[in-house]
Symmetry: C2
Subunit: 148 residues, 2 copies
DNA sequence: CTAAATGCAAACATTTTGCACGTCG
DNA sequence: CGACGTGCAAAATGTTTGCATTTAG
C-alpha cells in the first residue's frame, strides 16, 4: 500500500497500512498536538473509510513505543500526540481558550546534566508546560473591562 | 467538627467535615503526590468509616479550585495531588519502578519572565517533570548485567 | 501463505453527575 | 433552619483487550 510514502514504516518493522499512513500524514500537518478523538474525527470527515477507535489507539501506541511520536498530558485527563521529529520544545497552554502554542527549547539540557550528576538519576525525557492566559484572551479581557 | 484543626477551611468558606479534614491530614503526611484511589484506600484502611469515591473527587476538586492543593499528570492517565503549600518543586519519575522524587525549584522563574515578555503570555503555573531511571533501578540493572 | 493489523464489542479505569438524605454553622 | 456536603447509583470519558477476520509483504 502506498509504495512511496512513509517508507520508514517498513524500516521500523511496521507494515504500511492505510491507518498508519493517514495518521502519520495528519500528524505531519498539525501545528499543535492532537488527541485520539481529534484524529478520529479528522479521518472521519476527510477520508472515505473511517478508522476504528481501538485501531487508532493501537497505532498511536505502537508509534509511541517505536519512538516515532511523543505523547504527553496537558492537565486534560487525556493524552496528546505529536511527531517525535519536531525539534525539542515545550508548550504554552491557555487556560481560558485552550489554545496550545509551542515554545522552543530553553536550556533544559543543562538542568538535566545537573540532575544526572547530583541525583544519579538518568534522564530520558522531560516535559515542561506553562499554563496561563494567551495574548488574545488577555486582550479580550482588557477590552471587556474597559467597556464597562 | 474538630474545632481546632484546619481552621482555614472555614476561612475559605468551606465547612469542616470529616472527609476534608482527613484528606488534608493525609496530604500533609505524604512525601510524594497521590492519586484519588490511593487516598481512598488509605482512608479505607486506617479510618473507621470509609469515604465515598465521588466525595473524594468532589473534595479534591474544591480544594484544587480554592488553590489549597495542586494537581498534575505524570503520564499515567490520571491526576495526582499535593498540598499547594509545598515549596515550588518538580519531579523525577522513574519509568522502571514508578518512584517519584521531588527536586527543588530551578530558576524556572527567569524563564517565565522571559516568556511573559517575548510571547505576551501570562504564566499562571507550570509543570516540569523528568522521566528516566532512578539510582536504585540503575544500580540493579548494572548488577544484573554484571552477573551474566 | 503467515504474521501482523484491523474491526467490533466488551471491559476497564478514572472522573463526573443527579438526586435524596444528612450535617455544619 | 438552610445552605452546603455526602452517599449511592448511574453515566460519561478515555483507553485497552479478546477474538474472529482481513491484509501486507
Amino acid at each position: 500500500m502506498n509504495s512511496k510514502q512513509n517508507t520508514f514504516l517498513n524500516a521500523w518493522g511496521l507494515k504500511k497500512t492505510r491507518g498508519r499512513i493517514e495518521i502519520l500524514n495528519y500528524l505531519k500537518r498539525i501545528s499543535t498536538p492532537v488527541d485520539a478523538s481529534e484524529i478520529e474525527s479528522y479521518l472521519l470527515e476527510t477520508k472515505s473509510t473511517p478508522i476504528n477507535t481501538a485501531t487508532i489507539y493501537r497505532i498511536l501506541s505502537i508509534l509511541y513505543k517505536k519512538g516515532l511520536v511523543t505523547r504527553f498530558e496537558l492537565q486534560e485527563g487525556k493524552f496528546r500526540y505529536e511527531l517525535a521529529s519536531k525539534p525539542d520544545h515545550h508548550h504554552l497552554i491557555c487556560k481560558n481558550c485552550g489554545s496550545i502554542e509551542d515554545i522552543s527549547d530553553c536550556n533544559i539540557k543543562a538542568l538535566e546534566k545537573d540532575i544526572e550528576k547530583k541525583k544519579k538519576f538518568v534522564v530520558q525525557s522531560h516535559s515542561l508546560e506553562f499554563f496561563g492566559v494567551c495574548p488574545d484572551c488577555s486582550r479580550l479581557e482588557r477590552q471587556r473591562l474597559a467597556g464597562r
